[in-house]
């Protein structure tokens, strides 16, 4: 027998070789940063990214990238979304709140040319004309150039939400000459997306240097940026990394920021990292279908009341971890128009059983549908559904769980086919008007089989909220709407999960914003 095959050390030798190669690989890796020069910020996130074209992107990762590359007319400072502040323009709203006048205050594109009113009109009209995901933001709004530095936005009805909407990175201002030269138009015939996926044409603090929807996006500091604060990092790399790897990377110092860790994952973090737990603006809610042909028992107001009183909201918060909270209404606690925490529904087991008895409902059985591949702040809907099932069992309601992939479940939910559904709403813009979708005859209301004018008491409240021109009156109207929704609506607001950001100890200035997650230009060294 050949000696080379009979040596018992064969496996051991191979193992030793592997270890040596691994050690070598660690050495190769450790010198990478010094080779490239400049300050590099590495952010790990689970990509939800389809485009770098502001007029087409409306996904979380796209918003983060858009915020870094393109300036908007208005913006928010840090995580405070209760007050829009000037970015490229100052603003003034007419008394009837139908006209918004924006005056440009400078701004230079990355090619050195100034931002003009023509660029603003082109960029905003393009978003409307593309008929893409963010087009609805400017529905019913007319954009007019007054002079070289003034633009007017006109709405048919009072539009107090418009300043909040204009801060959305999808409404970032493009260099119209450059984009037109690469096939950009204000219609759906626009061909500029491939160009905008390779180059940036904005005035933001960074420019796009590499882009992939699956791997990483690389941003380079824009030397022509004229905004208020010069960014600290020369290069920002956003990598598409799943959460278990995000944890190890940030712990080991391979990345400086991890954006998608759950409360469970951060409990055992080591390596001197910082954990920021903030309340997200996503609201997880239960839907009880009011269409008898779909919902059956869920269309009964007494069943609705029993579910609302039977849920142990504190028990659900335990699952969501530190930073999570119970919204008192459908509008998240971080937005204007939200109800105070004192008005949040509490558990009332006796009341729940009494409601079932009053409705003559003996041992009702329902099916709860949800997407089992959806995570909110690192929390998947599966454990929430299981806990709701157990909680409602205590009052005699049997819940059959019907999970499925979001690709198929979304279809049923949006078609109004859920008897009982567990879903989340992430804000499109931080204004209470975004939550009118939950009312009868509107987008989410119809998904719950809640047809227009199904609740006569709500109609005047909604009318008031839409048409008032004073912020205080408007906020009061939204609170009234939510009280009515809490009393008899087909939605039960459950939790606002936490939003956890883990950063290296060397990093500061990270603040969660519900629109663009984090502003990479605000990140600095501590």
């Amino acid at each position: 027998m050949p000696s080379f095959l009979t040596r018992p050390s064969l496996v051991a030798s191979l193992a030793a070789c592997s270890a040596a190669v691994l050690s070598l690989s660690a050495c190769a890796g450790s010198t990478a940063d010094s080779a490239s020069g400049g300050r590099i910020l590495v952010i790990d996130t689970t990509f939800n990214l389809k485009s770098a074209d502001p007029g087409r992107q409306f996904e979380p990762t796209g918003q983060t990238i858009g915020k870094a590359i393109y300036q908007t007319l208005l913006t928010f400072k840090g995580g405070d979304v209760t007050k829009p502040v000037p970015d490229l323009a100052t603003y003034e709203q007419s008394k009837d709140r139908k006209t918004l006048t924006l005056r440009l205050r400078g701004g230079t594109f990355s090619d050195g040319s100034p931002v003009t009113a023509d660029d603003v009109v082109f960029s905003l009209n393009r978003v409307i004309g593309l008929k893409g995901n963010p087009s609805f933001l400017l529905k019913g709004v007319t954009i007019t150039k007054n002079d070289a530095s003034t633009v007017t936005l006109t709405s048919k009805e009072p539009n107090l939400a418009l300043p909040f909407i204009l801060a959305n990175p999808s409404l970032g201002i493009l260099n119209s000459k450059v984009v037109r030269a690469h096939g950009g138009t204000e219609t759906s015939a626009d061909k500029a997306e491939p160009y905008l996926n390779r180059h940036s044409s904005g005035s933001g603090p960074y420019t796009l240097t590499a882009y992939s929807t699956t791997t990483q996006v690389v941003l380079q500091k824009n030397s022509k940026y004229t905004g208020p604060d010069d960014p600290t990092y020369d290069k920002v790399i956003l990598r598409n990394v799943q959460t278990p790897t995000q944890k190890l990377n940030v712990q080991r110092g391979d990345s400086q920021i991890a954006l998608n860790l759950s409360s469970d994952q951060v409990q055992r973090l080591t390596g001197g990292v910082k954990v920021l737990s903030q309340t997200s603006s996503d609201v997880v809610f239960l839907l009880l279908n009011q269409d008898e042909s779909v919902g059956g028992v869920t269309a009964d107001p007494k069943f609705n009341e029993a579910v609302r009183k039977g849920i142990d909201y504190q028990g659900l918060l335990q699952l969501a971890g530190k930073g999570a909270t119970q919204p008192a209404g459908i509008i998240p606690s971080t937005f204007v128009g939200s109800l105070p925490p004192s008005e949040a529904t509490g558990r009332d087991l006796e009341g729940a059983r009494a409601a079932l008895a009053a409705g003559g409902l003996k041992h009702p059985k329902v099916t709860l549908s949800y997407a089992n591949d959806t995570a909110v702040g690192g929390l998947t809907l599966q454990p929430l559904a299981e806990r709701i099932q157990a909680q409602l069992k205590e009052i005699g309601i049997t819940v059959d769980l019907a999970p499925g992939p979001s690709a198929t479940e979304l279809d049923k939910y949006r078609a109004g086919k859920n008897q009982m559904g567990l879903w989340k709403w992430s804000p499109d813009y931080p204004d209470p008007s975004d939550y009118l979708v939950f009312l009868p005859g509107n987008l989410v209301g119809l998904r719950a089989g809640w047809k227009a004018s199904a609740d006569a008491e709500l109609d005047p409240l909604v009318e008031k909220a839409r048409l008032v021109t004073k912020s205080e009156e408007r906020n009061a109207a939204y609170k009234e709407i939510q009280r009515r929704l809490n009393a008899s609506g087909p939605f039960v607001s459950l939790i606002q999960p936490s939003r956890i950001t883990v950063t290296a100890a060397s990093v500061a200035g990270v603040e969660y914003n519900p629109v663009w997650t984090i502003d990479v230009a605000d990140v600095r060294t501590s």
Binding site: V11, S25, I40, K131, S135, T215, R239, N249, D428
Partner: protein
Amino acid sequence: MTFVLTNLVPGDPATANLGEQASSDPAAVAEYRRQHGLDQPLPIQYARYLEDLARGDLGQSQQSHQPVLTDLRAAVPATMELAALAILLSLLVGVASGVVSALHRNRLGDHVLRVLSLLFVSMPTFWLALVAFYVFFDQLGWAAGSGRLDPGVTAPANVTGLYTVDAVLAGQWFTFWNAVSHLILPALVLTAHTVGLLTRFTRSAVLEVLSQDYVRSARAKGLPERTVLVHYVLRGALVPVITVAGLAFGALLSGTVLVESIFAWPGLGGYAFRSATTFDLPAVMGVGLVIGTIYLFVNLAVDVLYGVIDPRARVQ
């Protein structure tokens, strides 16, 4: 077949890909359907797909908004680089271990190798990937982090899409070593399962060949043991081993999604998974076509190798 299957799945690509508000806007939905050709009847969609396919156009991905071919040009080499190294290591270690195990039949070395191979075959690859990444990257600091290169390292100019090869072609040795450093751990993880498989198959094939008359005759003729083993035993045992290796290579190319996910490796598995879960039908069909073609070529290569190894299998 991929076209029919992807269209049979319940669900609407417009719903899956448009946002909450846009999916309820008839104008946005109509525009989405027009852009992706979904407003046409299925037979016409299929005819157009075939027409485009004949021109080498696999359509546009609804997720990346790029041609599917562009996406595949990035994803396939990434997986190919990983799978090729994994299968190479597997063949080296698996065949050697199988032979050693067979030659030491029912002795301690054989028992150890059989237990190890059983362990490797039974261990879930995603679990092993997590443990390996935790131990070698996080705890020991021996392995490089996730991805194909360190964050500060620029990818070499794209020639083959294989970073190691492209870095050598460009003479970028630092990039080459960086690419190797990122490749080695995921490749070793993938190797574990295939090594286990090849060890067991090689052992069984070698044992069968060892009992053949021609091996006994070779020994009786006084040929050196090394010659008998390499030219008679191994050659005879390689046919089933090559078959298994071919299938394993195909599986490595198409089934590495979880390992790719843990190591943030932008390969074909992750692309296929993402496309399937978002109803990105052109991408799903593109992936199906690529994997089908790869299997075809792997099987062809295996058939050709049969003839090279075993003269009896040659076509006259």
